[in-house]
Symmetry: C2
Subunit: 335 residues, 2 copies
């Protein structure tokens, strides 16, 4: 039923070794025989079996990607970067959502390894000791993408989340704001939760502004969450004059909550965030944000992985990509 390399060999009147050479672009084949083989392939509609090839060669040209949630715009953009570079180097991607659930993450890492992927990209989750153990059983390279492990044992590509948050808050301070509230992510979440909160804290500290407990609330990254927390801030006796959100989506929720209350952004309250997803330009006022280069994080981490898979020398295993403040109309001087 299915046509194999052997059928092609017979049809072309050569051995299967020769067919293999032709298919794999091995130069040691006379042009004429090459032609014969190609014709036989065409005639028979032969399609090489990558599974058999993988078994024989111990390479699958496939990499595993574990992602928190592909329907999240941030991760989707990172994934796009990964896929583009993978494609460029002729790798395919096995994509697994793991929802930042440790058990699921470790489970998919194992099934990916069973599938003999040539490399693994672990994206955006918190890396615990258990993760480290799982990664260490891997015989193929692992790259952390949009996250890092505490001990920096593994190659990774990410931004400096704390510094990004720091810069966002400092921007507010430079504009004269002293009452700055923060909409946080989950503090168990090292990168966009804890680290961004730390950046907020340090920026206040370094500028002699006292941290006020009631100015910090933890959200779940969703739009609605931003609205609810903004509602809470508006109920405070001393309202903040500016709000720093750990993510765009919550920031936009906050902006709309303000507008729903008849308040003006940025005249009454300024809003800034970290991320700079496409949505940031799709609100009025447009959202100022510290931009995280999502596509690049994906692309660079995949590029790094290809080098690791080829055993190429890499100078720097831990890459920290730059972030950048994108000023827009949601922030204004506090005069």
């Amino acid at each position: 039923m299915t046509v194999t390399i052997y059928d092609v060999a017979r049809e072309a009147g050569v051995s299967m070794a020769t067919v293999s050479r032709v298919v794999n672009n091995n130069p040691n084949v006379k042009p004429q025989t090459r032609k014969k083989v190609f014709e036989a392939i065409e005639r028979l509609g032969y399609r090489p079996n990558a599974v058999a090839r993988g078994l024989a060669s111990k390479k699958t040209t496939t990499v595993g990607v574990v992602i928190p949630d592909i329907s999240n715009a941030i991760f989707a953009e990172v994934a796009r970067g990964i896929e583009d570079i993978a494609n460029m180097y002729h790798y395919n991607i096995i994509l697994c959502n793991a929802d930042k659930k440790k058990e699921k993450e470790i489970r998919v890492v194992n099934t990916l390894l069973e599938k003999q992927v040539d490399g693994l990209l672990f994206m955006g989750g918190t890396v615990t000791e258990e993760h480290v153990q799982a990664f260490k059983t891997s015989s193929v390279p692992v790259v952390l993408c949009a996250t890092t492990d505490e001990k920096k044992e593994f190659p990774s590509v990410d931004i400096d989340h704390e510094k990004a948050a720091y810069d966002a808050v400092e921007t507010l301070i430079a504009k004269g704001h002293r009452s700055i509230a923060m909409i946080c992510g989950n503090l168990q979440d090292l990168s966009n939760g804890y680290a961004r909160y730390q950046g907020y804290k340090k920026a206040l500290e370094n500028h002699g502004i006292a941290l006020r407990e009631e100015y910090v609330r933890v959200g779940n990254y969703r739009y609605e969450s931003g609205m609810e927390i903004m509602e809470y801030f508006l109920g405070l006796r001393e309202k903040p004059t500016a709000v720093f959100s750990a993510t765009d989506e919550m920031a936009i929720g906050a902006i709309h909550k303000l507008q729903d209350h008849g308040l003006k952004v940025p005249e009454d309250i300024s809003v800034i965030s970290v991320d700079n997803t496409r949505m940031a330009t799709m609100v009025r006022p447009q959202l100022a944000a510290v931009a995280q280069p999502m596509y690049d994080i994906g692309a660079v981490s995949m590029r790094l992985l290809t080098k690791l898979m080829k055993n190429e020398k890499v100078e720097d295993n831990i890459v920290v990509l730059p972030h950048e403040l994108i000023m827009r109309n949601s922030v204004q001087d506090r005069s």
Copy 2:
């Protein structure tokens, strides 16, 4: 170096067939031997090689997904539905972006087939005769997801795009609008381009409203495109009183362009679209839209594919999921 089923067999003092049985949960193994084998597996850190298994069993428990662009919110949501159901049935997903480029689509279909996927999900592109030919060379089932082929030769899961557009436009008409402009998608694009335009046309026709050439402009699905086209409509001598957009993102661009001109939505101009992405609730005013059940399209198509892969009887190969009008504040009566 790598530990195989044979090593485990020796360690446990059984044959490799027995190891294979316990690994595959074959009931025909004495509990005690099963235990011995598990211990040996544990001791050796054995991990089954799915590639070898795939070669022997001719099943990879992997399905290929060709997607236009994973960073597009619509497709990402569909992909999430696919992945969830795949995961439920213990399949993994090889994801390939193809940007709606025919050559690339056909190329990835072929590499996916070479990788011996157990099934193929083709998402969101236009299905040409060449696609049909490519699909026909497949020995595994193919399901079209969020698209269909003209001749309905292949199983598919989609909504009725024409009817969805029709319903949106009719809603406007029912509210008293007669000057209704449309921001289209690419007309080569069968589903969200051509079909939605047809729906617009028929709705006008059936209600005795003449189609005006200057009221129809083709966009590229992006926010900016919606803005530009709205700008154009505003330059018309007779401005429309309502705008129907083929997608959310362009609709939101249109809304913001109106607001930038100091016009009010919906007081001055109403806006409605098809899609109902999460963004639709993240604008002010919130965007009325005919909802397309994206997650479900993915989930149902993957479910259908699992049935096909198991050679189960399926009553209906062509499933058309219902759409639904979600009325929000971007539309108002024309009084």
